[in-house]
Symmetry: C2
Subunit: 78 residues, 2 copies
Amino acid sequence: MRVRVTVMLKDGVLDPQGEAVRRALGTMGFDGVQGVRQGKLLELDLADGTSRDEVRAMCDRLLANTVIESYAIEMPAG
Amino acid sequence: MRVRVTVMLKDGVLDPQGEAVRRALGTMGFDGVQGVRQGKLLELDLADGTSRDEVRAMCDRLLANTVIESYAIEMPAG
């Protein structure tokens, strides 16, 4: 079972990596780039039947730092 | 206009970061984690009317290393 977890810095948390990308794009001549936020994307191959609660536990304990990051879980229904 | 770009290592390219996450999850007692791939997620705030071709150019020139990475663009239709 393929599960996707996206982890982003929360709004209000400074994102120097995204800011560096924004500036670089401007320098390269791409106009109109107003903001960039960079996060992580994790694709997990899990045993069938793994529950959303278990994936949430993985996020809370390892994949995200919930003080400064929020996460979203996309998994097959059922 | 909010555009999402996901960048993942291509299949067959070694992903030590993902592998480290897989092992860590196993060590923490999460069974059934068969594989983990880690990628980047970029959320771009772009001027309305920016074309998909322009976003593709940003990916090809800066956001992804297309030798080893593939990318996907999600943007509002139109």
